[in-house]
Symmetry: C2
Subunit: 137 residues, 2 copies
DNA sequence: TCCCTTATTGAAAGTAATTTACAATAATTA
DNA sequence: TAATTATTGTAAATTACTTTCAATAAGGGA
């Protein structure tokens, strides 16, 4: 039983073929995928998969922090598997390939300074880099 | 003639009542607004304003860097006036109020390290913080 | 100041994205 | 294995956004 299946079980959710298909596609993807893409790829694994189920699966996975939403300048909506302990995303603007990297400590000082300046209490942060990957350069 | 009007003129665009209404609403807002909200508030200033024009104005303003798009967890698409020289946004998760802050230098070291590790060449970055503002604490 | 050019606008229709309703199906637990 | 009920797919509904096109109004020049 893989990690995500345990997470689902513990949350009282069922492990279905549809969810398995969506998860498998996400696990094999190396760039953020939109619901339509997930459907197209997922259909190869689960012939009866529907777009509605893709949306519902993503909603559930996101709640359980198994998946993260990646935003882009114009269109938002790309989903990526959450790599444990890694928080930030770097996307290639040519091929779309995404890698995650840690970077919490680097931001600690910045966040402390911002809190002091603004009076806000910072709860979460969200950093996304965009560039060109080694192969596309 | 205000700054944004000059920017528009120099780009060969006309200063219209509709654009003025959208800009005025944005200037008075202290949190990111979605197109629908901009329409509702803008109608008080320009009775014939339409949603289509709100979309088109935002598109133009964004091209000219007068306005920036802010992304939120679920709903994407919120627009905020660009504060000159400031790059990052901090949003209160209770009242939605947003403040901007500089923070380029802080990230330079992080970005350099990520480039080295991943082989990517980082072009742009995008940082958004979420927390609770002084009044909502 | 008035006219002329043409960028800009709103209405309406079109397309795409996302959500909801509901009966049928399949995952789990006893 | 049977019973319970979460989950699914279909279809329809809603929302978000874009395009078309004729009417309007901004602003440069007479």
């Amino acid at each position: 039983m893989s990690t995500w299946e345990e997470t689902l079980s513990q949350a009282g959710c069922r492990i279905t073929e549809s969810r398995r298909a969506v998860m498998t596609v996400l696990a094999q993807a190396e760039r953020p995928l939109v619901p339509q893409e997930l459907l197209a790829l997922g259909l190869k694994l689960q012939a009866t998969l529907s777009l509605v189920t893709v949306y519902r699966s993503l909603e559930l996975f996101e709640e359980l922090s198994l998946v993260r939403r990646v935003h882009q300048d114009t269109k938002c909506q790309g989903y990526l598997l959450t790599a444990a302990g890694h928080r930030h995303v770097l996307i290639c603007e040519k091929c779309g390939r995404a890698v995650e990297f840690p970077g919490q400590d680097d931001l600690a000082a910045l966040i402390a300074r911002v809190e002091e300046r603004t009076g806000y209490q910072v709860k979460t942060h969200w950093l996304q880099l965009r560039g060109v990957c080694a192969e596309c350069q």
